[in-house]
């Protein structure tokens, strides 16, 4: 069954063909075509010629302070939300695993935000972080916790707008890492803990030497996936702040979309896309080199 003689050489290609045709047209070709576009001052109007300008788009980007701000914002968003999601996801998974009652219910509740669409939850957070004193977060801070005296105008300044965007990213993502951590925890044989307890290991020792050690491959997987996800940040920014005020909350993808589809500078947008793609691939490459344990297989 494994090898050739039972089938004609083209049989596997027939199975690949329909999917691969779509994949090449909409993924592989765009990847190559985008590089080409990025060397032009691209004219999107039909019938108008585009001008080849070599690497000029890339040079402009390197001196574009909006790009550097967007990149810094993207990296910061990734760092903060990845840490938040991993820490909380692991904590919740440990609790659900330990408490053992109503596991399915808890899993469902924490996972619900994950399956709810970004559009819906982005509006929801915009609403929760309303500048009005009757906004839920303001009410909580001013009237219930007395943290501040005046309601905060969340979305009118970059720093406070980021709080709303970070909160959304973490809140929406915790359930995903929780589910994966929980599955890993449930896969650890109970006997290991029993033996360790007989050997006199305390709870902390068991946690460090058994739990954390055995879920290491899962932890790495979650880390890699969340970092990729972090660099994808776009819709929450696009819908909640639109990158504003004054580009303060711009991320690379929102800046790219703005340049391409609002200002019709497709060449510049393509170069921005290429730079982001290169950064993400670079990070992944380094991660795989550094983190690849013997257990992780691809």
């Amino acid at each position: 069954m494994r090898s050739g003689p039972q089938h004609r050489w083209y049989v596997p290609y027939l199975f690949l063909l329909p999917g691969l045709a779509l994949y090449v047209l909409w993924m592989v070709y765009p990847l190559v075509y985008e590089l080409y576009i990025s060397f032009f001052e691209w004219n999107i109007m039909p019938g108008q010629a585009s001008t080849f300008i070599g690497l000029q788009n890339y040079q402009t980007i390197l001196n574009d302070s909006n790009f550097w701000l967007a990149l810094r914002n993207t990296v910061q968003y990734t760092a903060i939300t990845v840490i938040g999601q991993m820490a909380l996801g692991l904590a919740v998974a440990l609790l659900v695993h330990r408490v053992t009652v109503a596991q399915r219910v808890f899993r469902a509740i924490y996972y619900l935000p994950v399956v709810t669409s970004w559009v819906v939850v982005s509006f929801l957070f915009q609403f929760l972080f309303s500048s009005d004193r009757a906004g839920l977060i303001n009410y909580l801070l001013v009237n219930l916790l007395h943290v501040t005296a005046e309601p905060v105008n969340w979305l009118s300044s970059g720093n406070t707008a980021w709080i709303a965007i970070y909160a959304l990213g973490i809140w929406k993502g915790v359930g995903w890492s929780m589910v994966i951590f929980l599955a890993a925890l449930q896969g650890i044989p109970v006997e290991l803990y029993e033996v360790a307890a007989i050997d006199g290991a305390g709870e902390w020792g068991q946690f460090r030497h058994i739990t954390l050690a055995l879920i290491r491959p899962t932890t790495l997987f979650v880390l890699v996936m969340l970092i990729i996800g972090g660099f994808n940040v776009f819709l929450s920014v696009f819908l909640i702040t639109g990158g504003g005020p004054l580009h303060r909350t711009e991320v690379v993808l929102s800046y790219m979309y703005d340049r391409a589809f609002n200002r019709l500078d497709f060449g510049y947008g393509a170069s921005l896309s290429y730079i982001l793609a290169a950064i993400v691939i670079g990070i992944n490459f380094v991660q795989m080199r550094l983190l690849r344990g013997p257990e992780v297989q691809y």
């Binding site: 069954m1 779509l22 994949y23 993924m27 765009p30 609790l95 408490v99 399956v115 599955a183």
Partner: protein
């Protein structure tokens, strides 16, 4: 001594349960607030103090949303696109996965690494060339412009997911079918597909949700209001200065109903899909 220990650990467990419940409340609060607001009349102005249950609940927001121009059309557009995408993603990724799981062929390794590598690249970085391709094929404002792109996007991930599942299937049935003269297409249709319903359901559920929720590509290529999908229609309820949040969240809830229904019905597959991804990569 032992019973004191046990009592202590029961106390600890109760405390942990308390923390877990508090977390669950935080996770649920935004959703509950959204549901409450959807049943509020005139939610331009927020109640002070905020109320989760409106004083006089009303379904006006839902009737207004449904009666508004193009909303039902947008719902149907989204449903059609999502169903078609689900079919294509599931069928095409299963075929590709079968080729990867059961055949040796030239270029297999190269293709494998290209697909794996491209999975890391943020999908949205392709939107510019995809837009130009779509335009040169005359696809803007055509349903196919959505279905084809929504199908191509998750193809690689689902191919890998299914490949892992197919490889784990026992080969005996296929071998005896081959000896009986069955073609590979027959084997694929009659043996592989029926044995793989759990994995195929996972793929189907995720691809449905992906297409159902997608926003930015639909916003970019569907400029004709009659061709809008549901997420774009919801976003259009936002006002330039004032937003009727009741209307936004009533329409959001309408969009979320299929999602939650699928989630509850297929919870098992969600978990399976996620964790098999975790192991197989």
């Amino acid at each position: 001594m032992i019973s004191a220990n046990r009592r202590a650990s029961r106390t600890v467990n109760l405390i942990l349960l308390g923390i877990l419940c508090a977390g669950a409340v935080i996770a649920m609060t935004p959703m509950l607030f959204m549901v409450g607001t959807a049943f509020k009349a005139n939610a331009y102005l927020l109640d002070f103090p905020p109320r989760f249950i409106p004083e006089t609940p009303t379904i006006d927001n839902f009737t207004t949303a449904i009666a508004s121009r193009n909303f039902v059309g947008a719902f149907l557009n989204s449903a059609g696109v999502a169903v078609a995408t689900t079919f294509f993603v599931t069928a095409l990724s299963a075929m590709m996965a079968y080729a990867f799981a059961r055949f040796q062929f030239r270029g297999k390794q190269a293709l494998f690494y290209v697909m794996l590598g491209m999975m890391m690249v943020p999908a949205m970085t392709f939107i510019i060339p995809q837009f130009i391709v779509a335009r040169s094929l005359g696809l803007p404002n055509k349903v196919w412009g959505l279905v084809l792109v929504y199908t191509a996007g998750p193809l690689a991930f689902n191919t890998f997911l299914l490949r892992g599942f197919f490889e784990a299937l026992p080969r005996e049935l296929e071998e005896s079918a081959l000896i009986d003269g069955a073609s590979h297409f027959t084997i694929f249709r009659r043996i592989i597909i029926p044995l793989s319903t759990p994995a195929l359901s996972t793929v189907a559920v995720f691809s449905f949700l992906g297409a159902w929720d997608e926003y930015i590509w639909a916003l970019t290529v569907m400029t004709d209001p009659a061709r809008r999908t549901l997420p774009v229609a919801i976003a259009n309820f936002r006002g330039a200065h004032m937003t009727d949040w009741g209307l936004i969240f009533a329409s959001s809830l309408i969009a979320v109903v299929p999602t939650v229904t699928l989630f509850i019905a297929f919870q098992r597959y969600f978990v399976q899909g996620l964790t098999s991804g975790a192991i197989k990569g």
